[in-house]
Structure formats: C-alpha cells, structure tokens
C-alpha cells in the first residue's frame, strides 16, 4: 500500500507512556476532586427532602443553623436506593461504620433484625415534641424515633376514571377491586421490593384477616393476572402516568396536595382510601431517625437527632418531603387541605400489631410470591 501509511508510525513505547501518563493524571485529578472531608454523615434514601422548590440548597437551609451552632459540616448522604438499601449498606459497613445518623427506616423495616442490629437505641431529650402514638407505632425501644409519617392509599386520575362512571370509587372496597375492569386499571408496587407496596399488602391483609375474617390470599388469587405490580413507586407512577389503561395507583395520601401545589389548579388526582362498614381505612407509614451503632461521632449525632425533632427541621418536612411532620403543632401549607389526614381515616396499624407483623412478615411475603408466580 501507499508510503503514507508507514510515515506516521510512532514508537509503541511512546504510545504506552503517553497512555499511562494520561490515565494517571486523569485518575489523580478525579481523586483529588472527590477526596472526602471529615463530616457528620447522615445516611438516607435518594428522595429525602428532594421534592421542594429548591432541592439543591435545602440541606443548607434546614441544617445550616445546626452546622453553625456546632461548627461542623453535616453531609446528607442520599444513597441511590430506598431505606431497605440504606440498611443493607449499613450492614456491609458494620465492621467500620462511617455514617453517624440514619434517616428513613420505617415502622415495618425496623421490625427486621438487621435494621435493629445497625442502630443504637437513643431517647432524645426533646422526644415530647413528638406524639407518643407515633413513637409507639414506630419503635417503642427507640432504635429509631419518628421523623415524619404518611398514609398509603389508592389514588386515581379524575380525567381518566371518575365517580360518575364508577360510583364505587367513593367507597372503594377490595371486593370492588376484584372486578377485572378495576383490577386491570390498578398499578401497585412489589411488596418484596418497595415499602408502599408492602404497606398495600398489609392493608389488604389487615382488612381481610381482621375486619372481614377471611383468608387474605383469596383476593390476590382473584386479581392476579389483572393487577399490575411494578418493582417500585417510581416505576409504578411512570406506568400509571404513561399507560392510558392504568388509572389507579397505590401511592401516598398527599398526592393531590402535591398536584395542587405544583399546578395551582384543583388537583386531577383524587383519593380512594379503602372502605369498610361505614369508615375509611389507611395504613400509616412512620419514618424514623436513628443513631448508627458504633458511628464515629456519637455525641454530635445525638445532638443532630434532637435538632431534627425541633420545628426548625420539622417545619420543612411537609413541602419538601410530601409527608406529614412527626412533630407536634407544625402548621401546614394550605395545599395540604387536599391531602388525606389522620383524622379522616381509621388506622390499620392498630389492627395489625407490631409483634404480629414481625412474626408473620416473611411467611406472608412468601405466600404472596407463591400466589403471584404460579
């Protein structure tokens, strides 16, 4: 072939040296860029306080006063996972913990041994700022103390399905949902992978076992093949939003409030809490904050937990987290008029006790799994 081809040859050793040089410099530069500084580390899930107007500056806004008071840098480490994944990471790091505080472990997750193993009980001096009923619903042993709470319920889009065509939506029962038309319009989350999905399963178990005195498994056998089970809330919401045949979603009771707050119009999202014999029911999820066992800065961590229960943090919960603050007497934005409130429903947690859930959870999940996959 042509001479030109041979003219441009470089010594391979030069190429190797150049390559090694480029790699070394870029790796070193990157390493310096991300080199960690000593801080109080708070592990939490990915969407913690991420729903507000200024998610980029929220940490400074909420925790800035604490940082200045104690002269410490607080880093909110949002792990790219949910609370269950946060616990897995704490388990993996149990030999050499780097985190001081964990936020997001809820009233079901704390029943599982690994979540208790990685946290250390701590009773904040200002725990009286939180209603006892939340403390007891979450963890009477105080491995975690309440940070916020929410009600898991079904929501639907008024433009796609409404009470004129489906009057049963006003007082929706699980029996109504066995109608294939409604069942195939419902998207829920996989209870094996997602906390709202698990809350929905517990809702259904509580209603069947405690209110109707029926075998809970019969309902799942009836809706199987129609109901759409997505791996997580994000996937479920996306499916509900993009697929016109999916009209109902298992989600949080604050959804219409969020819709009102972001669009400033009467929300298209409506609530359909489960109905039985004259009242509506919902499952309450309480999310907690706790001390990481053997964390590097326990004293500071305790002060931080105390701080999180005060109104200076709690008043930010509603609009940035779209959950209810656990603290007493925190005023809520007018948008929350559209949310499902605690006094509007009977709480199913009171029917299904902590010890009952702890004893049966894995068997229930196995049964659910077996029904769905065979």
């Amino acid at each position: 072939m042509s001479e030109v081809h041979y003219a441009g040859r470089r010594d391979p050793r030069k190429v190797i040296v150049a390559l090694v040089l480029i790699m070394t410099v870029s790796v070193a530069a990157y390493a310096v860029w991300v080199w960690p500084k000593p801080k109080l580390l708070v592990y939490t899930y990915d969407s913690f306080l991420a729903w507000g107007d200024n998610p980029d500056t929220i940490d400074n806004e909420v925790f800035g006063p604490f940082m200045r008071q104690y002269g410490v840098d607080v880093q909110i480490v949002r792990l790219q996972t949910d609370a269950n994944g946060v616990v897995s990471r704490l388990v993996a790091e149990a030999q050499r913990p780097v985190a001081d505080v964990v936020i997001g472990i809820d009233n079901i997750l704390i029943l599982q041994a690994p979540a208790r193993d990685v946290t250390e009980p701590y009773v904040p001096s200002n725990l009286n700022l939180v209603n006892d009923s939340f403390v007891n619903a979450l963890d009477p042993e105080h491995h975690v103390v309440p940070f916020d709470f929410g009600l898991v319920t079904m929501v639907y889009s008024r433009s796609e399905i409404n009470e004129t065509a489906h009057p049963e939506l006003a007082n929706l029962t699980f029996a109504d949902l066995t109608n294939p038309e409604l069942a195939s319009a419902l998207v829920t989350e996989n209870p094996l992978l997602s906390s709202p999905g698990l809350a929905f399963l517990l809702t259904q178990i509580a209603v069947y076992e405690k209110l109707l005195n029926q075998d809970w498994k019969s309902w799942w056998t009836q809706v199987k093949g129609h109901i759409d089970v997505q791996p997580g809330w994000t996937e479920a919401w996306t499916k509900w939003d993009t697929d016109p045949t999916k009209r109902m979603l298992v989600s949080y009771g604050t959804d219409p409030a969020y819709s009102y707050y972001t669009t400033n119009t009467t929300p298209d999202t409506a609530l359909a809490p489960i109905y039985h014999d004259g009242s509506h029911y919902a499952w309450m999820q309480v999310e907690g904050i706790g001390l990481v066992k053997n964390g590097p800065n326990p004293t500071l961590a305790r002060a931080f937990i105390d701080y999180c229960l005060t109104p200076s943090v709690q008043s930010y919960v509603a609009l940035n987290q779209w959950m209810f603050p656990a603290g007493n007497h925190i005023s809520l934005n007018a948008a929350f008029g559209y949310a499902l409130h605690l006094n509007e429903v009977a709480i199913l947690n009171e029917l299904l006790t902590r010890s009952e859930i702890a004893a049966n959870l894995s068997a229930w999940l196995d049964d659910w799994d077996l029904i769905m996959s065979t």
Binding site: M1, H5, R9, P12, R13, V15, L19, M23, S26, V27, Y30, V34, W35, L41, S47, A50, D56, V77, R78, L79, Q80, T81, N84, V87, S88, V91, A92, E93, R96, V98, Q112, P114, N190, L192, L193, K224, G225, I227, D228, V229, Q230, P231, W233, T234, E235, W237, T238, K239, T242, D243, P244, T245, T262, T263, S362, L365, D369, M372, S373, T374
Partner: protein, 548 residues
C-alpha cells in the same frame, strides 16, 4: 529466556489474577459469609422450592427465546452492515448500541409507547381494524420480556458478526462463484463457517445477558415472572443472605457450565485460517430490485424495534407531561454546577466508563490470547472466567466489593474505585470475546513474516496484531463502554451522591417527577455515547488497519 517466558505468562494471566481478586474473591466472601451466617432458609429448601425451579426454568426459557429472536433479527443486519458501503455507516453502527446504555426504566417507557396498549403499533392496528379499544399489547408478559431483550441484544449480534464478516476473504468467495456454487451453498459452506465463532460468541453473551435479566422482567412481567436474578434480589432485600448466596451460587454454576460448553464447542472445530483480508463490499446502487425491497423492509423492522425508544427519549427531553408543554427547562439543570448538579453525573459517567473501557480492552487483549492458548487447562479456565462477570449477579458483586474491598480499604466515604472495578468487570466479557473472535481470523503466516523481518514483540503487537484486531477491539470497546456507562445495579449500591452517574441521575429525576430533567439527562447520555462510539471508531483507525 526464562525471564521472558515468565513475563509472558504474567501478562497473559494478569487479567485472571485481577478477576480472582475483584470478582471471585468478593463473591466467594459473600457466599461463604451468607452460608456461615446460618440458614434462615436452608440450601436444600431453596433448591427444592417450586418457586426456585420455576424461576430457573423461566430464566432458561425466556433467554433461549430472546437469543433466537436476537440472532434471527441480527444476522441480516450484520450481513447488510458488512456488505454495504454507504455514507454514515459508522453512525448507524453507533446508534444501534444506544439502547444498551439507557437505564431499563427509560427503555421500558419507550417500549410501552411503541408496543404497549395505545402505543404506536396498537394505534396502527386500531386504525386498520377501526377499533376504539386497544387490540394489541406486546409489552406485557413473556412476549414483552422477550421483545425487550431482543431489542437490547440485536445490536450485539449485528456488530459482532459484521466485524467478523469484514474479514471474509473475497478470493474464497470468488473461487466458489467460479466453481458454480449457488448463493445458498456459498452461504452454507463459506460464509456461515466463517462467522460461526462470532455468532456463537454473541449468542452466548446474549443468552447470559437475558438469563440474568432483572429490571425488564420485573417491570414488564408485572410481578408474575421471575428469573434467578430476581429471586436473588428478593432474598437480598429480605436480608436472607443464606438464600441469596445459594441462589447466586446456582447462577454461577450455570454460567460456568454454559461457558464450558461454549469453550468445548469452539475447540472442537478447527479453522483453516485463510489469508487475512477484507470482505467484498457493494454500494446501495449495485443492489438488485428484490434485494432493495428486502433490505428496506428489514431496516423498517429494525427502526421500529431499535429507534422507537430513542425517539421517545428525544421527545421526553423537551416535553413536560405534567404541564403539557414543550420546554427546554430540562437542559437548564444540566448546566448548573455543584454536587448533584448537571455536570457532575456527566463527568462521573464519562470518567468511570472511560477508565473502565480502557481497562476492559487492556485486560481483554491478554485474556483473548489466553483463551486461544495451546494449554487446554489454562485456556479453559480463562475462557470460563471471561463469561463469569455476566453470570455473577450484580447485587452479589456490589455487596461483595463493599464487604471485601471498599470497607477494609477504608473507601466507604470515597468508593469510586469500586465502581470502576465493577464496570470494568461487566465490560470484560464483551471486549475479551470480540477480540478473541478477531484473533481467530488472523493468519499466523502474517505474524511469522513480521518475526522474520525482525520485528520486536512490542513492534509486532502494535504494528501487526493490534491493527489486525482493530474490528474486534472496536466492537469490544464500544460494548465495554456501553455496559459501563449504562451499569445501574452495582453502581446504585456502591455510589455515594458525589458518584452519581447519568443513568442513576435519570432514575432519580424520574422518582421525584422531574420528567424533563430526566429526559434531558437521557438525551445527554445518548449523545455522549454516540460521540464516544464514533471516537472509539476513529481511534481504532480505518477498520482495515495499516498493514494490508
């Protein structure tokens, strides 16, 4: 001479040593730890459970269907891409790999809009039938899972096979034609045997990829289907580490068995390496009428399958589904600085995937040579090790890397090296296999000539072997990059906020309903990958190399 031989061995087996340290050891540690922690569910219970058996059968069954479909759809594409000379062929090549890098949730959304109820195909069918209700939903159940898997893997088959076809000797073809062979016979006797190694390699990679599939199965299967990988994930989430370990071990054993049969199959055939050269090409104008129609029909089919989700991504970047308006707001967040801001995920993605790709190629070359080694024990071990990263469940690897690399080395607050390691591992099967296939097509006589002319080992490698391996390195690097930049499972588990990659950022934006930002990030990811693929193509040089 002894030192030379030792150095050779060291270079040859260096990738294996790394695999042992960063793949085998962490995974063994997890499995041993899981089993030592005592049994909440005993291995016997796990193995005899009907659910495990069902997951195993479903994994095997859907992977087989998906592989058949991907190979069936991919072969004509490979033939066209190798044979046809046309402008923009490198862009087509690069665009095909894009689906590989998109996070599953984006693929699923694009897929629903193409194949789901009231999607593109359904609307078409409804219009034809004059129906008001949905008539065609291909995005659900086994059909949906298999189609989505094919969508992911067709490009793999196309690119691996076409890069092998490029080395088909035109003289052999001509001789066959002169001797009166019919096109079918020519295909049977000449083309097929030539591409068989590439076909086998891409089919095995596809099979493993689908066998261990996890998010697609969960999302499109609607909770009713599970693969072994799904079962591992369930067990892990339930903190049942002994069950997770047992299942992970089963999956590894299956991978090893598959890799071993691949190795035996490859060994049992001997190839007469013909003189190295490059295939005879046509321009589009030279095609005859019937073939033009066939080619166009094929391209249309491929467009529906592969381009649909990409179009959906572009639309998602500029259309806000909540406010129902077109906006460029999504791109605004990409320019913002600071941790979690737009540029950080971009820099992270490019950095991790870039380093991982270089490593995967550097490790892939000796691994490919080791696979072709005369010593059959060593070559079988290295050949099996090559597939291993695909069979190790991502969560097991991520957890293992955390337990036995990140935490002991004190990297917990700065774990990016573990992300690079995980991404390198996952790209290695692709780079090593495609380089190995290219290696098979090199004529040993050429190397002897180089030796005779007095080339040093380094000169021979750089001026003779690497240019000849260029098509294989190109395809390998492209897929290693794609696997790395699209990797989610391990990255999600290991990453701290400062390590967020684009794929992770897309998912995060979706989870707080920032749809345009997610769309914009997806588009950036697509563009970054296109640029990277074209750059890789440029760097590996004109595909024929300089020596011919």
């Amino acid at each position: 001479m002894k030192a030379q031989a030792l150095a050779n061995h060291l270079i040859l087996y260096f990738p294996l040593i790394l695999l042992a340290c960063f793949l085998v050891y962490p995974v063994c540690a997890v499995i041993a730890g899981g089993i030592a922690a005592g049994f909440r569910t005993s291995p016997l219970q796990v193995l005899t459970s009907p659910i495990t058996l069902q997951a195993l059968l479903f994994s095997a069954y859907q992977a087989a269907l998906s592989t058949l479909l991907a190979v069936g759809l991919g072969l004509p594409g490979a033939y066209l891409l190798a044979r046809l000379r046309f402008r923009g062929s490198s862009i087509v090549r690069a665009a095909m790999v894009v689906p590989f890098v998109l996070p599953p949730i984006v693929v699923v959304v694009g897929f629903l809009q193409m194949f789901g109820s009231f999607g593109f195909l359904d609307s078409l069918a409804m219009a034809v039938l004059g129906s008001q209700t949905s008539v065609l939903n291909l995005a659900t159940g086994t059909t949906g899972i298999v189609l989505a898997h094919a969508f992911y893997n067709v490009p793999l088959v196309v690119l691996m096979v076409s890069s092998s076809l490029e080395r088909l000797n035109p003289d052999v073809e001509e001789s066959a034609e002169i001797l009166g062979a019919s096109p079918i016979r020519k295909m049977q006797r000449i083309v097929l045997p030539h591409i068989l190694p590439a076909l086998l390699a891409s089919a095995t990679l596809t099979y493993l990829f689908c066998f261990t599939s996890f998010p697609i199965v969960l999302s499109l299967g609607g909770g009713a289907y599970s693969t072994l990988e799904v079962r591992i994930w369930y067990a892990f989430r339930g903190f049942d580490y002994s069950e997770a370990s047992t299942l992970a071990l089963v999956q590894i054993l299956i991978t090893v068995a598959l890799a071993f049969s691949y190795f035996r199959l490859g060994r049992s055939r001997s190839y007469d390496a013909s003189p190295t050269s490059s295939i005879k090409q046509f321009s589009i104008g030279e095609l005859r009428g019937r073939y033009v129609v066939l080619a166009l029909a094929y391209v249309a089919l491929l467009l529906v399958l592969v381009a649909g989700p990409i179009v959906a991504v572009v639309r998602a970047a500029i259309y806000d589904p909540v406010a129902r308006v077109y906006t460029l707001e999504g791109f605004g967040s990409l320019i913002s600085t600071g941790l979690g801001g737009g540029m950080v995920p971009l820099i992270n993605s490019v950095f991790y995937a870039g380093i991982s790709t270089v490593l995967a190629v550097i490790l892939g070359v000796p691994l490919a040579y080791a696979n072709r080694n005369q010593n059959s024990t060593m070559s079988s071990i290295s050949s099996i090790a090559t597939f291993l990263p695909l069979g190790v469940s991502a969560i097991t690897l991520a957890y293992g890397l955390m337990l036995s690399v990140v935490v002991p080395l004190g990297l917990s607050v700065n774990p990016w090296p573990a992300i690079v390691l995980a991404q390198t591992m996952i790209g290695l099967p692709f780079s090593a296999r495609s380089i190995e296939v290219a290696l098979r097509n090199i004529d040993p006589a050429l190397l002897d000539q180089a030796d005779l002319l007095g080339a040093s080992r380094l000169q021979r490698l750089f001026f003779v072997e690497i240019p000849l391996l260029a098509p294989g390195i190109l395809v390998g690097a492209v897929f290693a990059f794609a696997m790395a930049i699209g990797e989610m499972s391990a990255t999600l588990f290991i990453a701290l906020p400062q390590n967020v990659t684009l794929a992770v950022a897309i998912y995060q934006n979706l989870s707080v309903r920032k749809f345009v930002q997610a769309g914009a990030a997806s588009l950036v990811l697509v563009v970054v990958c296109l640029v990277a693929f074209l750059a890789i193509e440029r760097m590996t040089g004109r595909r024929l190399g300089g020596v011919l």
